[in-house]
Amino acid sequence: MLMIRCPWCGEREETEFHYGGEAHKLRPLNADALSDREWSEYLFLNHNPKGVYLERWSHARGCRRWFNMVRDTVTSEIIEIYPMGSLPSSPEGKAAYESNWRRQTAAEANAKGEAASSEGDGA
């Protein structure tokens, strides 16, 4: 049983929460500009690390508000809890954010309104 400290309600049991999967996964603004492969990377691929993971949680049976969490997927240690829309501040969280391959995907560049996608260059 995970004990999760909701930023608004305090420490509660994991059964009060809903899991939202990978955090910082941005929806592309202009999906038409992405190739099928790049779109499938956004749609189906989630980071699945053995170790530090940045993820979204919602206090579904409490205040119903969302927040981000840095958690170790092997030990289940909760390293940091931080608000939606912000980046982690712990060294583990920062390193995990930077090293995630998603930072280099065309879908993420598209979502941030950066360089246009090039066909097949999803890496």
Binding site: T15, G21, F44, L45, N48, K50, E55, T73, S76
Partner: protein, 430 residues
Amino acid sequence: MGNDGGTDWLGQSGKTRYSVWSLVRNALAYHQDWQRAWRAPEPKAEYDVIVVGGGGHGLATAYYLASVHGITNVAVLEKGWLGGGNTGRNTTIIRSNYLWDESAAIYEHALKLWEGLSQELNFNVMFSQRGVLTLAHSEHELRQMTRRVEAIRLNGIDSEVKTPAQIKEIVPIINTDPTIRYPVMGGFFQQRGGTARHDAVAWGYARAADALGVDIIQNCEVTAIHRDGGRVTGVETTKGTIKAKKVACVASGHSGLLAGMAGVRLPVESRPLQALVSEPIKPICDTVIMSNAVHMYVSQSDKGELVMGAGTDAFNSFGQRGSLPVIEHMLAAAVELYPIFSRLRVLRTWGGIVDTCPDASPIISKTEVDGLYFNCGWGTGGFKATPGSGHVFADLVARDEPNDIAGPFSLKRFEGGYLIDEHGAAGVAH
């Protein structure tokens, strides 16, 4: 001990064929002379094929590479011990009652191989066609189930819808009171389904593969996958570098990590799937009963324990441990459905790390790296497919082209959109 002699049964390493006569002979010798079931070789410098993962699927792949395709210069690398991952942690249920044609083809292929497996491997895998009964707890679930039964039957696979009264006949201990939280509204039954002994499956394939010359190397973890110009050249392991022309990865929950070593990404997420056994009791349940609505599946092992499966943890994890809230949720429904269970004690609980796919169907596929293949994504229900999975994966690795059964399960389906959505038949929500 360690008698490696005896008569050939598969032609190569001089194994004694298991039979009633070998049993009698060894009984008279106080069981001191049983030969070892497989060798423990040091890795060679190079292999034609390296199979990464010594669970049922990996060992089956190696066995069929040798027996069907004549490729015997094969190593199976296992980071722990044989069958110590999900092969030893599942609830051993076997069935082929899936909705879509693609799934029916692969799971029925597996079921047909199960039916002759003990004879083929000369190893009793204790395959028991005791039937699998799936319960419906609402009118809508029953309607959906009826539709699935029609689809299954159109694929030539046995399945029939059952009424609550018929279910009560099959499972006398079940509570069919319509006022309970999850009432039994009906269900469907596949008589050819059942269970097998999970350890025996790993050991049987290991012994038969070893007899054909396959090297089974335990305590050997792969730490890197070597490539040269887009082609796989071997692996780095805790026992040194091993070259290979082809590398076939069958590592369930750790598949994503292996893929990452070669720069390949897989649409899988790793979750612990929860299971438990009760203390052993006299026979009370001679079939397998599943309930998707409450994430419960139960059968009674030959030792008398009730083997019960629950759902997955709600979040990604590589921690192979039991999780009380998931188990509690399942047991609350189980004791209402089977009041006789209420006084049993839980003997042990555990979790196995399963690799779940977005469409709840497996991945049997080539990758962008030549000579690198993946067989993964079986999620919460891979055990039942073990022989079929190994059989078609060996075919893919040997020919570098998928056959008709494996073809639809390519990684390409996530780009093309041809998903095989089996969330309804998978039994556990992903």
